[in-house]
Symmetry: D2
Subunit: 338 residues, 4 copies
């Protein structure tokens, strides 16, 4: 249960409430949420306790979500969240397109793409510096050098940058350079990492794991929210199935399901989901029509020469064409993209 | 390999060609295809044989598709197929919407829906008379009575009707009443049934099986095509995955993949794919944006009282609203729906 | 609910009971089961009706299984079923091994294998005459000629034979030659076929579909049982997953789960499940240890030259070696194999 | 390619070799492996370079595994590895059984179980101190207190202990108390964690991820091996499929597949795989029959009161019974368990 305490409640009062819950052996924690203190319990307190918390002038509102992911639920917050990253806003009427190369490979490669995607209407720049690779013999990313190049690209273009974070101890380093953190599919249930990005309070993209159900995904988001970080954006990127014609199976129904369950913005990454350049455009359109709040698309100046994911990156020209084709679909569902 | 014989070639010449192939132990069969005879071999004949077939004045063109599904391939036919059913045409610029109840339950129910979906812009009426049900204790459909009601609905509304066929020996019966046959997901690899609907030459919707890869699906279509029935329409209806928030996982990427592999029209059934009324509209929009040639949607006058699939059927009002919302998306991808 | 009527109840009494149920709009059907009449209802009748059926001297016992598959449930029959096929018995203390080639290819091939597997201790001979093949261009089986060869092999070896049946209208033909029918994985939810093999009253192996849950599988078995055919044997043969190192993923837990849910015997087919010759022996051993009632194993005189499934068939020598290695494992779980 | 250098080669020579590779832009790294230096390259060097490395007296043997996981391959090491943990040895003739509670809950609980599993023949004690839980509201483990209790249990029983590690920065802490580290299913592709446990040189159990293919799993193991830690034990624990009667689907074929690909020992965890107490014993038997090198089984003094995974833990009595039943199966496959 989420116990929303009164505005400007002093810490002493909060402690009284916690102590009451503790006497009844109820696990609870406080969360600082948009200037208010929330007390979140693991199970529902008894009616007696609820009455007391009200009488003591501590609680203003009690929310008992039907879903395990309490702070992520629509019962807790019925209006959609928006997440601000620099000048960009994710979750508003305008769709957010995040574009850039799979991996940061060089200054030229990154700046070339950064300018191109900005021109075409992207709002954020993506690029991997620490790359999770199936094999230790594959290109692992440029590391901190990649981060520096990303921050240079931001200076040159004004685009805020988002990059993947793989371990809790690197949050500080990555935060020095990036505006938004990304938790990748393989880290979707890396709970220490989720807590760490929660504590950072930075905007974060939480990708769905290849085998994560929608419910598990929301509970992963809850780990971040529970650290008092409301800036969580979900990103569907395909799940693993028996089908082999695509790299993963893009589950666009997840966008519609999430709309009924959570206030968090939802992006779609058609690049990783399909693994095929020809499939990115139709799936990007489908994602917008399904109600996604934005897209995450891989763009490379010379896709065939990419050091990772060569098959699925668009050229800047292909990306620009796609952006133009997306506009009327966005408008058909009451959004805009430019 | 597909050996396209010369137009108006006499049977004697065709037999000469077959006899040549047979001497070399090459399995081959003739297919009558849009007024032309095709000789289709299981493996590639030698260059020597190919030269002879040309020299003998038998072959006009040799097609060696890269895919096992030869007649279904774009190498054999690069322009998209259209399939005519009564006045409706599937695969053209206008999207085809097939609507109606999961099961035919009564004359009133069916006619009520038939008129409503016609008014809203549907081109075909669907309704199950023989229902494949997981449990023998579930409603199995009205059988021939259901077929009669479907043909009455056609008379009253002018809408051609499509209904599911489950066994080869019923093709004749169903063909008496219906304009188009449907092979359901559970029959996706029922090869005797595929051959039988092939022989019928009737238009047929081939749904994807819950565990069928796109390649296997095309090979199932090939069973029908190889009987000389070019009127095959594919329909994506969700595959089975670990996700439990939806009945199946709608694989919209399949629409885009098929576009690169086959000339056959592709529909999407968001009702069975999602199993949830709230999810039908967003997924229908996404399907149109992804490039589907049409939709198959379950509509029931009083969904909550339906004898099957109560959770996923739209009311006539919801259906009409959806049809209106689809138009601008159709236009955004160069199609129309009305 | 299963209403077990009194032994030797005359038809008039049964009709009285049915008429009572019918008045209450309760769907019900009679099933002749081991010399007794069962009345099976789709939903639970009211207490009033139950009391009446007892008072009228019709019902002896009422069984309300917790599972949809009523006749298949342990609540209906707590002792394990055994199914007799010729001299063989499936479900008893002795494990049943069914062996033979994937496809019947020739008289020599079949007799060679038949003698070899008999010598090694197999109890039934398997061999495909009608083959369900993904592509129409693959070898489709010898058809009736294959059936004739199977029955010759039985005459020569005394081994009863089992072969796959793909469509209802062929049951009569196949039954002329074979002792036991097999419903393959692709037909696991071919309901007309299930009804037809039910009506035949012949022993039948019902393979699990690649995407069939255990619950759906039991409900498929129920279709057969409900026709009054108690001779149903289940066979796990692998499900479809994302893993690509094996053809399917053998779900041995299904054997243990079924033991808790049904009285029907359960076989395991490690050949189709793994698709690899090296993997057959370890998985056969594992199946026996998990409690399977027997195995179905593909054996070919010259596996590398097989017309289908060349990679997964054992040579007669490999099969004999495996049979010897299985004996101590069988004994370790209180069974025997020879 | 793995370049096995001559025994006792001095560092200068190794550097010469590395410098040669570096001139050709070949990524390479040295690995200290059982007292020998290996130079491992990401791609195959040219024949010219290979000849030079031989001529320079650097290389003794060149191994070019067919698999991406080079150090894990049978081509590199054909004899099976054994991993020593305290007095226990994993991978030898005697099967290794690791048993203990899902979570360490209290001193009494742990010691009670530890003594019981030791008496029954277990070789290692397991117990979770840091628990990866889907929801932040579930019991997260006792943390360092749990580790202390584990080390007390080792002192009292002599059993070495294994416990899960979730983040790189905790390796040092956990290593203070535990004899063996476990990387859980959700961390199967947590590459920074894999590197960290590699650097620790401690014995490590690498569980298969719920969606990890066998090939990906071996590449994850390669991350650990490449840090010079040869003490890697794989553990199959079920993959995620559509089946819902079990928590996961135990993929025992993986045991047989791995035997053909790697020298690393393979355990099976039937507790997490099935999620049901009744299913643990049959699957444990099947795992032994399939050729597993041991088992990992959850045992709790009072399973119904467990703070996590209550449904799948055995009581000490059930565990003892199982151990006795496993012995004859172990012997049937040429192993022993006691």
């Amino acid at each position: 249960m989420i116990i929303v305490t009164r505005r400007n409640l002093d810490q002493g009062k909060v402690d009284e409430g916690l102590s009451l819950l503790s006497k009844e052996n109820l696990a609870a924690r406080t969360v600082s949420w948009n200037g208010r203190t929330l007390v979140v319990t693991h199970v529902r307190p008894s009616d007696g306790i609820i009455t007391k918390l009200e009488a003591m002038g501590i609680a203003e509102r009690f929310v008992l979500p039907s879903h395990t992911a309490q702070l992520a639920s629509l019962e807790f917050q019925s209006e959609k969240s928006t997440v601000k990253v620099g000048d960009a806003e994710i979750g508003g009427k305008r769709l957010t397109v995040i574009a850039g190369p799979c991996s940061v490979e060089s200054r030229d490669q990154l700046l070339n793409v950064a300018h191109a995607v900005k021109r075409a209407g992207a709002s954020l720049l993506r690029g991997g510096a620490f790359k999770p690779r199936t094999s230790p013999y594959e290109f692992q990313g440029l590391g901190e050098l990649g981060l520096r190049l990303l921050s240079q690209a931001r200076e040159e273009t004004g685009l805020p940058v988002v990059t993947e974070i793989m371990e809790p101890s690197r949050v500080e380093l990555v935060a020095k350079y990036a505006d938004m953190l990304q938790v990748g599919a393989r880290s979707a249930q890396n709970f220490p990492l989720l807590r760490a990005v929660g504590e950072s309070k930075l905007p974060v993209i939480l990708k769905r794991g290849m085998m994560t159900t929608i419910d598990e995904w929301l509970q992963a988001a809850e780990y971040i929210l529970l650290e008092g970080n409301p800036n969580v954006v979900l990103c569907e990127r395909g799940i693993r199935t028996f089908e082999r014609a695509t790299r993963n199976t893009l589950d666009l129904s997840a966008v519609a399901v999430l709309r009924k369950k959570t206030h968090l913005p939802v992006l779609v990454d058609p690049s990783h989901a399909t693994g095929g350049r020809d499939l990115v455009a139709p799936m990007a359109k489908a994602a917008v029509a399904a109600g996604a709040d934005g897209l995450m698309i891989e763009v490379h100046p010379t896709p065939d020469k990419a050091l990772s994911d060569a098959n699925q990156q668009l050229s800047p020209e292909e990306f620009e064409k796609l952006m133009n084709e997306l506009e009327p679909i966005a408008q058909a569902v009451g959004r805009t993209i430019h």
